[in-house]
């Protein structure tokens, strides 16, 4: 909430010589924040941010009272001058008829009302007009201005009705029913949410309580008699009404947060007083009123030991008392425990010792408190290693040339459907800001592919990655949040970028020191990847660490991507839980190995990596430290016509203790040749 306070109006309630800039600075440091200081026609106004717990500051009087407490925290620099009102209204000479009824007192737990006759609707005097104008409220006519003036001065909303427009001399407060409408003062016809508080006369609704009055009973140039109504309302209902109408007036915001009940009489008396003075009004009825039971002054216990501990400073008892009393609190007790009773305007706000400590801390000065480092023990919990491994992942991918992206957590249904993702797994947002962001992303591709598409209009190659959460619905339970990793390469040659990204993936695993994985064609590729061009890097137990695949052209086109696109995906936790920090130290051998090339002719569809893996496995049955490198891959017209291709493997024979002898080499070679023949129909061509 915000309140605009003209300096001249503040001075009606406050005597001080402090200059406005200094006053603003002190308010910000010790009380409510002054957002800015503005000069309008030689008048200074303060724009004050009022926190929701301090409705008592939604009035000029309240701000003056707070300012006085702040300016007097060390030495007396200000005097607060509260508005003094008389106790009783003058008796009426003739009483005009009016029935005020309330269906249920909880709707309007407290109110005061009176009829006034002989009203002259005129311009307000200059002083009053200036004050209203400086707060940004447009002066209209004295009667209306008075209701605004009193609300802003004291912080209690009220309403003035045209008495002669009220039918049947009846004002009845009740709960609204479904489908009722009202035309409010601003000329808007509003459908009243069911359960709102309204006032009706014998024929129609005349007030949407706490929000805005009805057009049908408004004060006009011709008004001669008025009803002044100063009510309190049930806060939760006012809140519901303005929330569902999406129309928060100043009055509604004040009612929502609660009003000091002792203000009702003062606001009422001041309104009647001003109507008499400025509009010639005369009281023309008895005083209508009912009141809540006054809330008992519950005191809060404050332990000076606790105060000292939280502030890390010993504040003398008399200072504590001075601070609290300047805020209107009553302080009793002695030694360590004080009993503090908040004033009526702070009853809702001051309930526990911490609330009192806050008041003392701020008036003492937060800036004056010492600066220390927390002592005590350090936490015993162990740092989750995941974050360190995640850093390795991010660094690795960036250093291989993938730019890191962050995209929004929500995505569109269309993006999900382009990727043929299961609808039942989607987590829906009830109140999206825009329709294109109505589901939590089930996959990072949903927002990354559109980004790739945009970037391809400016860059020939696009290489990006993102690491963040994806979401999966689990019935009515909380969604599963999965930390996911997605890398995308888009460039001209699909095969080339497939191997590039797979290579980056393999080197990522080695950076995380994850060994012992296998590389195979995916059995169950994601619906958006080409099934012939997708592979998985899997652990021995079959868990997929990474999968790499080429995006189907039909899917790419839907995202407006016209370049071959390769995708690598992983669940981050699968990687980080398998990552290790300690690298196995390699054996440093001094004896040379035996190296030779083996060439084979294999069927064209052979997955050469599988073949190499089998060859290496067989080699190691004889030579435990043996290694195989692929040396050549070739196809000739002749081979192609027979649907074959040629490969050359460079085989390195090695054992732990010595260079393998010719018998061992021969045996290993024969095993390899035999197994490759049996499994891959590989024919040995040359050695």
């Amino acid at each position: 909430m915000n309140l605009t306070v003209p300096h001249i109006w503040l001075k009606d309630f406050l005597e001080t010589k402090i200059s406005p800039p200094e006053l603003a600075r002190k308010l910000s440091l010790y009380g409510p924040t002054v957002e800015s200081l503005e000069e309008i026609d030689n008048n200074v106004v303060y724009h004050i941010e009022v926190t929701p717990n301090r409705t008592d500051l939604m009035s000029i009087e309240g701000v003056a009272r707070e300012t006085a407490a702040i300016l007097n925290r060390e030495k007396n620099q200000a005097k607060f001058k509260p508005l003094i009102v008389s106790d009783k209204i003058k008796p009426a000479k003739t009483e005009l008829p009016l029935n005020i009824e309330c269906e249920n007192r909880s709707l309007m737990p407290q109110m005061m009302a009176v009829i006034m006759d002989d009203i002259q609707v005129l311009q307000s005097p200059k002083d009053l007009k200036t004050r209203l104008e400086l707060t940004g409220s447009r002066p209209l006519a004295n009667v209306i201005d008075i209701s605004n003036f009193v609300r802003i001065a004291l912080g209690h909303p009220l309403h003035i009705f045209d008495y002669d427009s009220i039918k049947g001399n009846l004002m009845r407060t009740r709960e609204s029913r479904k489908g009722e409408v009202i035309e409010t003062l601003d000329g808007t016809t509003r459908e009243i949410p069911a359960g709102s508080i309204i006032i009706e006369d014998s024929e129609r609704i005349i007030d949407l309580c706490g929000i805005m009055g009805g057009k049908n009973s408004e004060v006009t140039q011709n008004t001669k008699r008025v009803v002044v109504l100063v009510p309190l309302y049930e806060s939760s209902r006012i809140r519901k009404t303005f929330r569902s109408l999406n129309h928060a007036t100043d009055s509604a915001l004040i009612y929502e947060k609660g009003i000091d009940p002792t203000l009702t009489r003062r606001a009422f008396m001041e309104t009647v007083n001003l109507l008499e003075k400025l509009a010639g009004g005369k009281v023309a009825s008895k005083e209508f009123s009912w009141f809540m039971e006054p809330v008992k002054g519950a005191s809060v216990k404050l332990s000076l030991t606790q105060l000292e501990s939280v502030l890390n400073e010993n504040i003398p008892g008399e200072k504590v008392t001075h601070y609290l009393e300047s805020l209107g609190m009553k302080v009793t007790g002695n030694q360590d425990v004080y009993h503090v009773t908040p004033p009526s305007w702070r009853k809702e706000d001051i309930k526990i010792p911490e609330d009192i400590i806050e008041e003392i801390a701020r008036l003492h000065g937060l800036g004056e408190l010492k600066i220390t480092m927390p002592g005590g023990r350090l936490p015993e919990a162990i740092i989750e290693p995941n974050f360190q491994f995640e850093r390795i992942i991010e660094n690795h991918l960036a250093s291989f040339g993938l730019s890191e992206c962050y995209s929004e957590s929500a995505t569109s249904l269309a993006n999900c459907s382009y990727l043929s993702l299961a609808i039942k797994d989607l987590v829906h947002i009830e109140n999206p800001l825009i329709a294109e962001r109505s589901v939590m992303r089930p996959n990072l591709l949903c927002n990354l592919l559109p980004a790739v598409s945009n970037n391809l209009s400016r860059f020939e190659d696009v290489a990006v990655f993102e690491k963040e959460r994806t979401f999966k619905a689990v019935g009515n339970a909380l969604p599963v949040e999965i930390m996911s990793l997605t890398c995308i390469l888009a460039a001209q040659e699909a095969d080339k970028i497939f191997y590039t990204l797979r290579g980056i993936g393999e080197s990522l695993l080695s950076a995380l020191l994850i060994g012992n994985y296998s590389l195979t064609k995916s059995q169950n590729p994601k619906p958006y990847l080409m099934k012939n061009k997708t592979c998985d890097l899997k652990t021995a137990d079959g868990t997929v660490l990474l999968s790499v695949g080429v995006l189907k052209t039909s899917v790419a086109e839907k995202f407006g991507i016209h370049s071959p696109t390769v995708i690598m995906e992983a669940e981050v936790e699968t990687l980080t839980t398998r990552a290790t920090k300690l690298r196995k130290l390699p054996l440093m051998l001094n004896h040379p190995s035996v190296v030779e090339d083996l060439s084979f002719i294999v069927p064209f569809q052979t997955q050469v990596g599988d073949l190499k893996r089998l060859a290496e496995f067989e080699l190691r049955t004889q030579c435990p430290l043996g290694k195989i490198m692929m040396k050549d891959l070739y196809d000739t017209l002749e081979l192609r016509s027979k649907k074959q291709k040629g490969i050359t493997l460079s085989v390195s024979y090695q054992t732990y203790d010595k260079t393998p002898n010719p018998q061992t080499v021969t045996k290993a070679r024969e095993t390899i040749i035999e197994k490759l023949q049996n499994t891959f129909q590989a024919q040995i061509r040359s050695i």
Binding site: E35, T51, P52, V310, L311, N312, I357, E358, A361, L366, I371, T372, M373, P374, R377, E380, A381, E384, E394, A398, F400, G401, L402, S403, E404, C405, Y406, S407, E408, S409, A410, V427, H428, E430, L433, N447, L448, A451, N455, R458, D461, A463, R469, N476, L478, P479, L489, K496, Y499, G503, E506, L519, M530, T534, C535, K552, Q607, G609, R613, M630
Partner: protein, 342 residues
């Protein structure tokens, strides 16, 4: 054979002969070309016909057009299928595979900022956490001293999920309760995680990051909060920056403060980018006893402080002299921004 039938037959053959998606889309352009496409030639002929024949011929052309489009679509789907039939060696060893070399790239500025924050607080013994982005209403509000229907909830511009009582957390303070529930004391936590709010403009994104500090121990003082704050401000923004605490109100802290630091542009003298020399960093305070209780700890023994600030905000505050007119650029994955010069 009529001219349209002729065209159909010829086109069908061309379509079936197209062996790649590129060929097919080239072909489509040729057939429907306004300049000398076969379809257009037929359309031109309509005007040369006697008027009584025009309608029939026009209809024929339209049908032919529909058929051609269907054939193109069918062939396209076939080629999509074929694309997946092509023999491809996914296992080809890298020592033999041809690879693409990639240009330089870098980490996202937010990652760099998050790491820096994590490191600064880790020196003070704060453990990094990452609590939920979607959470129950209980952790996001109720346990934080904002019961159902409380007006303070309105300030958060919260996204709700369609599941009852579930939200995208509008702040990282849900992590306070999760951390306390673990019951490991004392607590020094820095929860850096994603949040969401229903607002968007040049200084707000629907998705954003916050970092939430929480310290719970016995006899924790406001002066400890000031110490940690000083360490962070000096480490992150520089030793010359000062800060101030302003009284404020949050439901989950008591007392509550807002923290301002001196503006880096004008060194605290007042300029266009700040408020009289100060820039708002964010909120902090002493954890409200109700929140400690909600975390299942004894609020008579334990107290502490908490703060929650925006990662984008501290990033922007530090880069204010550079061009960051619209914070949303951070979430747009635009390589022109991400690949900036070092």
């Amino acid at each position: 054979m009529s001219e349209t039938a002729d065209l159909l037959a010829k086109t069908q053959k061309q379509i079936l002969d197209a062996n790649s998606l590129n060929e097919l889309s080239d072909l489509q352009l040729v057939i429907f070309s306004k300049k000398d496409g076969a379809m257009n030639e037929l359309i031109v002929k309509i005007s040369q016909l006697p008027s009584e024949d025009r309608a029939t011929f026009g209809k024929e052309i339209n049908e032919a057009k529909t058929q051609i489009l269907a054939m193109l679509e069918a062939r396209k789907n076939e080629l999509f299928q074929n694309e997946e039939e092509e023999i491809f060696d996914v296992t080809l060893p890298l020592e033999i595979a041809q690879v693409q070399s990639l240009a330089q790239a870098s980490l996202h500025p937010l990652t760099q900022t998050i790491r820096e924050i994590e490191d600064i607080f880790s020196h003070l013994g704060f453990l990094r956490r990452r609590y939920r982005e979607t959470d129950t209403d209980y952790y996001a509000f109720e346990a934080l001293n904002m019961p159902e229907g409380h007006p303070a909830r309105d300030e958060w511009e919260t996204f709700y999920l369609t599941n009852p009582n579930q939200v995208i957390t509008p702040h990282t303070s849900n992590g306070q309760i999760h951390e306390m529930e673990l019951g490991d004391l004392p607590i020094r936590m820095i929860n850096i995680s994603r949040c969401g709010r229903r607002q968007e403009d040049t200084t707000h994104c629907r998705t954003f990051y916050q970092f939430e500090g929480l310290l719970i121990d016995e006899n924790v003082s406001i002066t400890d909060l000031k110490g940690v704050l000083t360490y962070f401000v000096h480490s992150f923004f520089g030793k010359d920056r000062e800060f101030r605490l302003r009284p404020y109100n949050f439901r989950f802290t008591e007392p509550s403060f807002e923290i301002d630091i001196t503006c880096g542009v004008c060194s605290g003298n007042g300029c266009n980018t700040c408020k009289e020399g100060w820039m708002e960093l964010g909120g902090a305070g002493m954890v409200h006893p109700n929140v400690v209780k909600a975390g299942k700890l004894d609020s008579k023994i334990y107290n502490g402080f908490a703060f929650g600030w925006g990662v984008e905000r501290v990033f922007a505050m530090r880069n204010i002299s550079e061009a960051l007119p619209d914070i949303r650029i951070l979430y747009q994955s635009d390589l022109r921004f991400l690949k900036g010069e070092p």
